[in-house]
Structure formats: C-alpha cells, structure tokens
Amino acid sequence: MKLHRHTAVLVACSALAFGVTACGGDDDETARGTTESADTQNLSGSIRIDGSSTVQPVAEAASELFQETAPNVQITVGGAGTGDGFERFCRGEIVIADASRAIEADEYEKCKAKDIDPVEVQVGIDGLSVVANNSLEFPDNCISTENLKKLLAPKSKVANYKDLGEGFPDQAVAFFTPGTESGTYDYFTEAVLETDAEQRTNKVQTSADDNQIVTGITGTEGALGYVGFAFAEENKDKLKILSVDGGDGCIEPKIETIADGTYAPLSRPLFMYPTTKTAAQPEVKAFINFILENNQKVNESAGYVPLTDELKATATQNLESATPVEAPAAE
C-alpha cells in the first residue's frame, strides 16, 4: 500500500515536472523517501468538512492531529447540522459530510441527481446514556428497555415511577430529552421505543442542547432523560448514570461496553461521507485513513468511542475501494 502511494506520487510528480516546476525540487526527496511522513508532508489542498455537530469534534480532533503530519493541507470544519451538511455535500460544495445517521433516501436522490456518489465511512461510535436526577433511587441503578418504553412511549400515561413495579421510587415523573429535530431523538425512538420518531410529549421537556438537558435534569427532582455519552461522563458527579438492561442484563455505559456492542441498543455509529471522486484525492484519502488508523486517539479527544477492529476493517475497505453506498430504502 505504501509502495502504491509512493509510486503514484512519483508518477504524478514526473508528469507535472514537464509542465510545472512545482514538483521539480521535491523529486529527489520523494524518490528517496519511503516513509509516510515524507509523503504526507507533500500533500496539499483544502478540505471543507461540514455537517453533524455531533461528529464535528471527531473532524476537529482529526484535522488537528493530521496537521502535524500534513501541514499543507488546509482543513476547515463546520457544524451546520447533518441535513445542511448533506445538502452542501450533494451540491458539491463540501468534500466530506459529517453525519450522525446514515444518508437518507431524499438526500441520496439529490446526490445522484448531481452525479455525486457518497461513500460511507464509519469513523466512531457514540453512546446514549440514560441519566437521572440524584434523587432517583432505582433498583441496582438500572433500567430495562422495557421500562424505558413504558415511561416514554408516545401514549404513555405513567405519572409516577412506582407504577413500573416493585422497588421503584414513589416519585412523580419528569423527563428531559433531545427534541424532535435531533438525530439522537430519532435514534432513541427507533432503537428503544421502536416507533417512527414518536415519543411521549406530556411531562417531557425537550431541548436542543445536551448541556441544557443536563441542567434540566440536575435541577428537577425525579427527572430522567438521555444524553450523549460524553455529556453524561462529564457530569458524573451531578447526575446518576443508569445502567441499561437490553435483555442481557444491566450494562453500564463505558467505552468498552459501547465499543463491543454489549451496551445495546444505545450505541450509534458516526459517519463521514466523502464522494467516490474525493475519496480518490490523495489528501482526502490520507486524512480519512489517518482517522481510521489513529481511531483511538481521535475518538478519545472527541469524547466518543473508537471502532472495533471489524468495523474499522469495513470502513477502510469502503474508503480504499471508494465503494459508493447503497441506495437507502425510501420511507
């Protein structure tokens, strides 16, 4: 693989050497150098990344670390939201789209209309933590997905936690969750409530920002809700993080359990989408490869969970062969 890239650079530079002087001076160095850093040092270009604000920290951490090995590649990261990200992506305005969900049918159509083929590369895993106000004493500090369903199903009328059964506290309910516009909401309603973006509305306050949800829960007695894993971790001392029983026992949300999938169903994939064309550009390919190869460090800095070897292999495969993603099922 290294040889492949090395040869490619040599060929490209030789070709350019006829017309442009730019590669002239570097020829000797690249002819001799076989290390990756020499290759990446020569990479240049600009990469515009935009999309999900959830994946944004990953892109940021990656671009900063990548800059050390490839200082001439200018990367900017935006956070206009997954929807806006795909919109720009499908118009060819950005190189990589960050997404906290897979591309949807509508968006895919738009891309195809402009002759753009998205390539799906998973770069990390995010977990959803179920958190509660410190006043709530649940048995074993655990809640089953069944009970979550009972509490938050669209038609739920549960007004007191004791209605869940033996051992549950006598406390009026109060919920704080992300709002309908959030990808986290979509994920939770699909994975846990098993509905199509439908969730209880009475006694539920929604907020756009996980920090605000945390503020809401810490400030309201008997409050319960769900936030991103990193937010729960950061506020461990102010809230209770509940273990979740998805049918195989109570599992605490931790990097290990999220990574290996035992903390189910509350872990979700984080994606970056280049196009088939941009994935072939050396600087873009190098960048995304960098994220996959340094997955642990990048995800740690961003507050997320690194990919398992299996997932990493799939992602690398997609990137290397620039496989266009399959058309998503229309809703």
């Binding site: 600009s46 515009r48 800059q67 900017t76 720009r88 800095s301 961003a302």
Partner: protein
C-alpha cells in the same frame, strides 16, 4: 414646533409646589431605578462571564489556533481575524448604503408616493426578520445563486459574502436611526443654506449630515454591536467552526461568536471557560470598535 409651544401655554401653567417637587423626586428616582436595573444586569452578566474566562486571557490565547486535542492551549487567532475582517467589511458596507438610504427617504422622497412608502415599510419589516433567515438569504443569493460574484467557484462562502449577509441584517437599524437623526436637524438649517444658494445636495452634505452625525453614529454602534455577536447567519452561509489557519478575503473563515457557540455546547467544563474568555475578547473588540463612533458622536454632538 409652534403647536408644541401653544400646547405648553395651554396646559402647563402651574407653579412648582412642594407637591410638585416630591413628584419630581419620585419621577427622578424611578428613572434612576431604571438605570440601576440596566447597569446591574450588565454588571452581573459581565462578572459571571469574566470570572470564568479571565483565567484564559493571555497573548497566547490571542495568537494560537483552536485546539480540540489540548483545550488548555486553545486560542482564537483565526476566529479573531475573521471577526475583525467581517466587522471592517460590514461597516464599509452599511455606513454608505445606510446613510444614503436614510438621506433619500428623508430629504428626497415624496412620502405620498406608494413606492416610497413601500420602501419605508420594507425597511421596518426587515428589522424583525430573524437572523437565521438572513443566513438562508445569504446562502441562496450571495454564496450560491445569481449573485455569486463574491464566492469563488460554486457555493464557497467567503469573508465578503459573510460580511454582506451580516450587513443586510443590520442595515435596517442604521437606516431607521439615521433617518431619525436627519429628521432631528431643524428645518431652519436647511432653509438657511438653500436661501444662500446652495443646492439640495450641498445642503445635505455640508449642513444636514454633520448635524445628524451623532445620531448616525448611534445607529452604526447599535448595528455593529448586533453584527459582532451573530452566529446563525454565519453558520448557514458556511463559515467554519474550526479553522487552524488564518482567513483570507477569498477563503474560508471563522468568527468569534461561532467559537463561543461551539464551546458552550461542549460537555467538558474547560470549553465553557474558553467560551467565557472568548466573550471577553469579543466585548473588548466591540468597545474598541464603538469607541471610534463614540468619539465622533461626542465631538459632533450639539444642542439645537
């Protein structure tokens, strides 16, 4: 004005009595209370912000780039330059266009014509459009669509595009306030100038505008104050939230409010402190920016 004077004569003929004086005092005290409320809020807000952020203020903070790997060493250089460029360009845009529009509406336009009244209603309405919509407008028309002169290539957001979008957002403020300033210049000034043979434009340029300068300055201060803190339009236009190199006029840019917004939504406490420090820098820039206008205002203010 004559109406007001007879009004006075008719209604306000009373000698000040002790009752009057206590009412006077009451009135004055309630006004001071208002001032107190305003200043207290400002004080508490600033202290809240300063306390968290002051620890990060340093030259390194101003000259480093944002960092996610090592937040302690994070800086705001790229965003700072972005904001400075944006404000400079924005001011260059809103001052001439804003004042020109105000001059037209006050001095030249016949208020009975429907098209002039349409312009007037338009401007007033535009002041209440949420900033997000200006972002959508900027994206659709300045960065992408027909007026893609300031973007390079297809749909690339540039500093100029961002500045124009912000400019459109705050232009109504400049126009409305400048109109009032121009209106406040007494007609006698104009009449005197015209009587001496000056043309309308000469009168405006040499007499009316200098007289209206303090008011115009207020409008520009309020406009730039609004523009400097706006996040949504910039994000929608395509500004970067994270950029580790300095912006150029024709390239990607970031801005301080975006950094603040970004950091405030982070779980780790250190980012909130960074946000607080950035806010302090933003306010300092605002004060410096406004001080130019404030100096002009103080020098040219006059009591008619």
């Amino acid at each position: 004005m004559a109406v007001a004077e007879t009004d006075i004569a008719r209604k306000v003929v009373q000698r000040a009595s002790s009752g009057e004086r206590s009412r006077d005092l009451l009135f004055r005290s309630s006004l001071m209370l208002c001032l107190f409320i305003a200043v207290i809020f400002l004080g508490v807000l600033l202290v809240d912000v300063a306390a968290d952020g002051v620890g990060f203020l340093s030259l390194e903070f101003l000259t480093s780039f944002p960092s996610r790997i090592d937040p302690q060493s994070s800086g705001i250089q790229s965003a700072l330059l972005g904001t400075l460029y944006l404000m400079g360009l924005c001011a260059l845009f809103i001052v001439p266009i804003g004042v020109a529009s105000a001059v037209y509406l006050e001095e030249y336009a016949d208020n009975e014509r429907w098209y002039n009244r349409l312009i007037e209603v338009n401007i007033q309405n535009l002041a209440s459009v949420p900033s997000v919509v200006y972002g959508i407008l900027g994206l659709a028309f300045i960065v992408r669509g027909p007026i893609d002169i300031f973007g390079l290539g297809v749909g690339q957001p540039t500093l100029l595009a961002g500045a124009l979008t912000l400019g459109l957002l705050v232009l109504p403020v400049v126009i409305i306030v400048s109109r009032e300033a121009i209106r406040a210049v007494p007609p006698s000034i104009r009449e005197g100038s015209l009587a001496l043979g000056a043309t309308q434009w000469q009168t405006i340029w040499k007499q009316v505008l200098p007289g209206a300068l303090p008011g115009v300055a207020t409008g520009v201060i309020l406009a730039l104050s609004r523009a400097i803190g706006e996040t949504a339009p910039l994000i929608l236009v395509g500004a970067a939230a994270f950029q580790r190199f300095n912006p150029t006029l024709d390239g990607q840019f970031s801005a301080l409010p975006i950094q603040i917004f970004n950091n405030v939504g982070e779980p780790a406490g250190v980012f909130r402190d960074l946000a607080a420090a950035t806010i302090i820098v933003l306010l300092v820039i605002l004060l410096l920016m406004n001080s130019a206008a404030i100096m002009l205002r103080n020098r040219y203010e006059q009591k008619w």
